[in-house]
């Protein structure tokens, strides 16, 4: 029998996410991992523009708010100044895979020694449900009102695969925040990512398939099921890169 307490790497400020949004789960996993790794007072985080724009209110460490898509550049600037601190960015799919694609890819190519937690919810949550580069084919959003088609809106982007096509990243894994077992897996992945950073192995990213009950127009429980049933078909879970013992 286990016990569970809110992590001390989260502040007491109530999260600003909608009910049942798994952004919240991602937040607490990061907090728990940092706590377990004993990194209190050793972390700088970077918040993106997106529903997690207020991340700086929630993580109990030094934080910088980045311009939309530029979190990897901001994190790079920070990490170069404080190479011995743990630096992470937290980014949505619009932020990371659309406007900020060049920044994340080049941070990966540089092997920048940071950890990125990438929340793929296949939608622009913050701005009210527009299509994301990761939106599924067929998905109706406010800017793909007839459902996304390859012809009209192009193909969903696969970030783990894209980063894995290059040298630079040390660790890439895709997980989902849908149920207890998978949340535990996600936590292990996030922990490994941070451990790699602490060991100086370079760029690590964990892509979390995450829900947006509000803009998917589903209940939180349905939304989790939707990830399992549909999202994982396009975004298979697994480790895409792991340099293992190598630096």
């Amino acid at each position: 029998m286990a016990t569970y307490h809110k992590s001390n790497m989260l502040t007491d400020t109530p999260l600003s996410f909608c009910p049942g949004c798994t952004h919240g789960i991602a937040h607490k996993l990061i907090a728990e991992v940092l706590q377990e790794l004993g990194q209190q007072g050793n972390v700088i985080g970077v918040a993106p523009v997106g529903c997690s724009v207020f991340a700086y209110k929630f993580f109990n460490c030094d934080m910088q708010e980045a311009a939309h898509g530029r979190a990897p550049a901001v994190a790079t600037g920070i990490k170069r100044v404080h190479p011995d601190k743990v630096v992470f960015s937290y980014q949505g799919d619009g932020d990371l895979a659309s406007i900020g694609l060049a920044e994340i890819m080049h941070a990966g190519l540089r092997g920048e020694n940071i950890t990125v937690v990438f929340i793929n919810n296949a939608i622009y949550g913050m701005t009210g449900g527009q299509m994301a580069p990761t939106s599924l084919i067929g998905q109706k959003t406010t800017t793909s009102p007839f459902g996304r088609t390859v012809e009209r809106q192009g193909n969903p982007i696969r970030m783990c695969e894209m980063l894995a096509s290059q040298d630079g990243p040390a660790y890439l894994e895709r997980v989902m925040l849908t149920d207890y077992a998978n949340v535990l897996k996600a936590k292990r992945a996030i922990k490994k990512a941070f451990e790699y950073q602490i060991a100086g192995k370079g760029f690590s990213m964990v892509e979390c398939l995450s829900t947006c009950p509000t803009n998917w127009h589903m209940t939180p429980v349905q939304a989790c099921q939707h990830i399992k049933d549909n999202m994982t078909k396009i975004y298979p879970l697994g480790v895409f890169k792991d340099v293992g013992g190598a630096k």
Binding site: S16, F17, C18, C51, V53, T214
Partner: protein, 178 residues
Amino acid sequence: MEQGIICAGFGGQGVLSLGKMIVYVAMEKGLHVTWLPSYGPEMRGGTANCSVVASTEEVASPLVSTPDCLIAMNRPSLDKFINDVVSGGMVLINSSLIDIKVDRKDINVYYIPANDLALQHANERSSNIVMYGAYAKLNGNIGSMDEFEKILIKQFGKSADKDKIISAFHAGYEEIKV
């Protein structure tokens, strides 16, 4: 004549459409109207509100900073706006969710148990319709009961709950004793 209205409540209580329906009534009446919602992430889970202006002249400022009429669907909304209501103005309070009384003496306050009446006549989501009815009763200069009802039917004519919704409207209307 110019009336500035603020409708405010939780996101999901339908305050934006409540405001919009009032606008439609005023528009049909030939009045000049504007409708301005609060917008952006503020709406997420939190409170929502809209400013409505109905006027016999062109509307200059659509921003209602000192409402002639406040419709408060929950406690935070009441707290936020009550002091801005003009002296002599009116306040409609959803007393199902707001258990305090307003102590300003210079305004007319009406307590409507909107959630209770909605549940009774239609469903939880119709509390805004009850308030719409109450507002209709108090604002004959914006439109007659029929005119308010007409707009309601336009909005919900195709809904399966049409009759229930109209009944909720009337409940609100009747709740006000003038």
